[in-house]
């Protein structure tokens, strides 16, 4: 059963075809990687999935519902969360406040509740705080909760982003190059964390990554794209041996 189904997705910027009739599936409960050389269109795929880009053609079904025309906040509300390739934290806010943003779409008290501070509002605030702290604890930076996020070391800032995405209580989590800029130990911990997100929280993982070692160790399925087209798909061994993939990454041998 697939949680995400993309059919003939096409995205053009003017005359440039960034994504060309791309079809792919992410199965429920899986860890799936999207790889490809620089400029292959990976992040563009993510931006289409999350509603930041409007696809020119094709369809995206999430949990069986078409999301191709929805705005990003609606898609997040439906249960798809993402992290960004370059950190996009709310820099001047505390770590806890950053993570609390994820709960916004799961809560509903408005201006009147805020002014009156009625029991419903207070209960909701406690719930937001509780979930945010739970997510921070899950990624292991609960101690930093009251620090400004811009003052954290880079590796911890990444973890704030993951906690923030988890706080939206997603079914599917899109990670855009989660290992970028991390050192060896941090990468090991990232892999353990990704597995824990899947096992303990039952969240499906779809990630873009350049670190092939990490991809091959963690993924159950790998999708390779180049020039916006899918060139290979399958388990790690199949993809690694595929001549098209080798060509895309290393180029063709001179005859």
């Amino acid at each position: 059963m697939s949680i995400l189904q993309v059919r003939d997705l096409t995205l053009r910027f003017g005359g440039l075809e960034v994504i060309n009739r791309l079809s792919l599936e992410v199965h429920q409960g899986g860890i799936v990687s999207l790889i490809g050389p620089n400029g292959a269109g990976k992040t563009s795929v993510f931006n289409c999935l999350t509603g930041f880009y409007r696809a020119n053609a094709g369809d995206i079904a999430f949990n069986g519902e078409s999301i191709v025309k929805l705005k990003p906040h609606r898609i997040t509300r439906m249960g798809m969360a993402r992290t960004f390739q370059n950190l996009r934290l709310f820099k001047n806010m505390t770590v806890l406040e950053n993570v609390m943003s994820g709960m916004h779409c799961r809560t509903r008290v408005g201006a009147l509740g805020a002014i009156l501070r009625n029991p419903a509002q207070r209960a909701e605030e406690l719930e937001i705080r509780r979930v945010a702290e739970e997510c921070l604890d899950f990624v292991g930076i609960l101690d930093h909760r009251d620090r400004l996020s811009k003052n954290l070391p880079y590796g911890d800032q990444r973890r704030v982003e993951w906690a923030r995405a988890l706080a939206t209580r997603p079914h599917l989590l899109l990670l855009d190059e989660p290992a970028a800029g991390l050192n060896f130990d941090e990468k090991e911990r990232l892999m353990a964390l990704i597995r824990r997100i899947r096992e303990e929280l039952q969240i499906t993982i779809f990630l873009i990554e350049h670190d092939m070692g990490l991809v091959m160790r963690i993924s159950e399925k790998v999708i390779v794209i180049d020039y916006g087209k899918k060139i290979a798909e399958g388990d790690c061994d199949t993809v690694q041996g595929d001549p098209k993939v080798i060509e895309a990454y290393l180029g063709r041998e001179e005859e």
């Binding site: 990003p72 906040h73 996009r88 709310f90 943003s101 916004h104 509002q121 937001i128 620090r147």
Partner: protein, 333 residues
């Protein structure tokens, strides 16, 4: 060595100010200290009519009025980060609602307030709905246009608004049989409004909605990715800001008993925005400081006559260079 010490001295001086600010913040972190300070301020404010003359009361009432407008604009500019150059339009909506309903239709003043709230919300939706999809500079230009449109409509809709000569004979409100006509009546009325506006601002800032404004202000795309509808959240800020100005406008009309379109010129919007920036965008106590500075400065320096606007301009430029975050200090983590 000696040369090295001279460039260091401004840094030392600056850190001395910063240290003092930090100490003050820590002092007021204690609930008892903070509440004591509030009580003292309120008592002082309540006592002024017993000691001050009408001139002082007039100036302070005017300051209170600007504090309310600044708090309202602060929600739009400070909390949500939307540059609004036409804020006077909302204040005009409130003032005209009260003016028209009391002088033409004989409404009781107090009944015009809910009507003004409704019209402010409508104005917020009409102006905000189409414009809040725009970002930063474009939004500023469009709000500037809408501000002018409102004023020109008020000037040309002669049968309703009295045209360029405006409305006169706006009824004085009364409360528990006491007609509000003396300056100290309005002093207390506006003071009560300031307290209410402060309370509402504070509660909103520390709420889910207040945080959402800050998320959108910090990074619109990340906020959107977190499931926050940025257009709806901005519209919320716009509407609440409009209601602040609308209600302030009701009381303004009642106090003046006459309003004309010239009250709501672009300079009015610019003045309020200036006070917000001067006090420190997004900081609630900063709005009090900013509004007071803006109103009191020309009064205190009345003797230097026409020079005072020049001096004021120089002070503003110096502020921009040396304290761009506004007069109210930033809390350091």
């Amino acid at each position: 060595m000696a040369a090295g010490s001279s460039p260091a001295s401004p840094a030392v001086k600056k850190s001395a100010i910063a240290a003092l600010e930090d100490r003050l913040f820590r002092f007021f972190d204690h609930r008892r200290h903070r509440h004591g300070a509030y009580a003292l301020l309120v008592l002082c404010a309540l006592a002024v009519p017993f000691v001050g003359d009408n001139y002082v009361l007039e100036i302070l009432t005017n300051s209170f009025f600007y504090i309310i407008l600044c708090l309202g604009l602060n929600i739009v500019v400070g909390f949500a980060g939307l540059l609004d150059l036409g804020y006077a339009a909302f204040f005009a909506v409130g003032a005209y609602t009260t003016g028209i309903l009391t002088s033409h239709h004989g409404w009781n003043f107090w009944l015009t307030i809910p009507a003004a709230v409704v019209f402010s919300i409508l104005a917020g939706v009409i102006i905000g709905g189409p414009t809040l999809r725009l970002r930063s500079d474009y939004l500023a230009i469009v709000t500037l246009g809408f501000g002018e449109i409102t004023r020109i409509v008020a000037r040309n809709l002669k049968d309703v608004t009295g045209g360029a000569s405006g409305l006169i004979g706006i009824n004085r409100p009364s409360i528990f049989g006491l007609e509000l006509y003396q300056i100290h009546h309005y002093y207390y009325a506006f003071f009560a409004l300031v307290v209410l506006a402060l309370f509402v601002s504070y509660r909103l800032q520390h709420s889910r909605l207040g945080r959402a404004w800050q998320y959108v202000r910090e990074d619109e795309d990340a906020a959107e990715a977190m499931g926050i509808d940025r257009v709806a959240i901005k519209l919320y800020a716009y509407i609440i800001g409009a209601v602040f100005a609308g209600v302030a406008g009701c009381f303004f009309a009642a106090k003046m008993t006459a309003i004309s379109p010239e009250t709501f010129q672009f300079m009015q919007s610019a003045t309020i925005l200036m006070a917000v920036v001067l006090g420190g965008m997004g900081k609630i106590p900063g709005m009090i400081v900013g509004a007071l500075a803006l109103i009191l400065f020309p009064e205190v320096f009345r003797e230097i006559g026409s020079m005072r606007m020049l001096v004021f301009g120089v002070v503003l430029i110096l502020m921009m260079i040396f304290r761009p975050q506004g007069m109210w200090p930033e809390r350091r983590n």
